[in-house]
Every structure is written in C-alpha cells, then in structure tokens.
C-alpha cells in the first residue's frame, strides 16, 4: 500500500493522452478503427526524426495514436514482428525532466531521451521503460503546471 501511495505521488500531475498502436499499414489500420466508431482527430503527420507516419483517432475508447514506419525506418519492426499492436501509453506532463527523474527513481530506464516531436508541434517527448517492459511516453505540456 505504501508503494501505491508513493506511486500516486510520482504520477499525480500526469494527464493521460493516448495509447500508441504500431501498424505496418496506416490506411488499413485506420479503416478498421473507423469501422467501430473512431474518427480522425487531426491530419496525418510525418515525423522523420521518429521515423514514423501517424494519425490520432478518438472514439469509444481511449485516444489512439496509430503509427506506421516511414520507408527505411525499423523503429516499429520489433513490435510488429512480435505481433504487439498496442505498445505504449502516453501522458502529458508539465516538466519532462521531472517526470523522467521520478520514474527512473522507481527502476525505469530511459529508452529515448527528450526530442522535439512533429505530432505535438515540436514539444518534447521522451520514452521510458519500466522493469516489467511497460513503455511510457511523456509529452511536455508546460501549461499543465498552471492547472496542477
């Protein structure tokens, strides 16, 4: 229980944003989600730095970030090869350095240090992995600090 209380403190200012879905084919993937009531939230984006093309969908479940690899990119190969589709969950945080440091203090490791992301207007994102292989994305959203 004490661990759960400490854990709540670590994530108290996180705001859920999306789950990431890896796909070999964006068009086919999106069509399947549209068929069950999801809609495109914004235009398709391309992020050469991440090596992905993607689109956000909203619908009856949590917001989805559908991603396919850009030509020549292997960034999603491992997930797709292992048959894993939903592979990360993303949270907005007011300060990415603080979120990283707190999650690292409970055993996580940085998978990708902060980089600007096209999908979020150049805001910083970063990925950490917990020892149970749970992959978490942080999206720096400074205005959250005002609300928290």
């Amino acid at each position: 229980v004490s661990g759960a209380i400490a854990g709540k403190r670590i994530s108290e200012d996180w705001r859920f944003h999306h789950v990431g879905v890896a796909s070999p084919n964006l068009v086919r993937e999106v069509a399947n989600w549209l068929a069950i009531g999801y809609v495109e939230e914004a235009d398709v984006f391309e992020d050469p730095l991440q090596g992905v093309r993607g689109v956000f969908l909203t619908g009856p479940g949590p917001r989805l970030e559908i991603l396919e690899p850009l030509s020549g990119s292997t960034v999603l190969d491992d997930w797709i090869g292992r048959g894993i589709r939903i592979y990360h969950q993303a949270f907005e945080v007011s300060r990415i350095d603080k979120a990283l440091s707190l999650t690292l203090s409970v055993g996580a490791k940085t998978q990708r240090p902060p980089v600007p992301a096209v999908a979020f207007g150049g805001r910083l994102i970063s990925f950490v992995m917990q020892p149970n292989m749970n992959l978490i994305e942080f999206i720096e959203t400074p205005q959250l600090e005002v609300n928290s």
Binding site: D78, Q111, M129
Partner: protein, 99 residues
C-alpha cells in the same frame, strides 16, 4: 606427488575460471534468445553489428540481464553496455561490488 600437485593446480585454475565461464554461458544463452540465433560464450557480439539491437531492445536486454544476475546497472553504465563483453565485465564488476 607432482601429479597430485598438478591436478590440484588444474582444479584451482578451473575454480578460478568457473564464475566467469558460468556468467559468459548465461549471457550467451540470453543473447541467443534475444537475437534469435545461436551465440557462443566466446563470441564477440557488438551493438553496431546487430540489426535488432536498437534503443528499445537495448533497454529490454539490460532489464533481462539485471534480472538474470540480480544486479542493477546505473544509467551511465547501462548506456555503455554495447557488447556482450561489456555486459560480462559489468556483471563481474557489479557482483564484485555487492560482495
């Protein structure tokens, strides 16, 4: 007498080698499973030469090896573990610190 001394010396050398050999064998098993090909304990495996050793797999590999050997690598050490030899050295050093 000489023969007995020789045998004792050989046994002693075997004992000295054993922890390292066991660690190398265990690492080779982990690397084989990870990279889906047979990898021997004496083989040289470098991150630059392994197509599947990307940043994601690196973090997973570090966690798997930490778990297998009951050690924890600090971030500044983990990021430098770019070969099976480096992992073997780090396991030895970390286990040595714990003793």
């Amino acid at each position: 007498v000489i023969a007995a001394a020789t045998i004792r010396q050989q046994e002693s050398e075997e004992m000295d080698k054993q922890p390292d050999d066991t660690a190398r064998l265990k690492l080779a098993e982990i690397f084989s499973a990870f990279f889906r090909r047979p990898i021997g304990p004496e083989e040289t495996v470098n991150r630059n030469d392994e197509e599947r050793w990307d940043s994601l797999r690196h973090v997973e590999l570090v966690f798997v090896i930490e778990d297998a050997f009951g050690v924890t690598f600090p971030p500044e050490v983990a990021e430098k573990l770019t070969s099976m030899d480096a992992f073997a050295d780090a396991v030895r050093a970390t286990a040595g610190e714990a003793e």
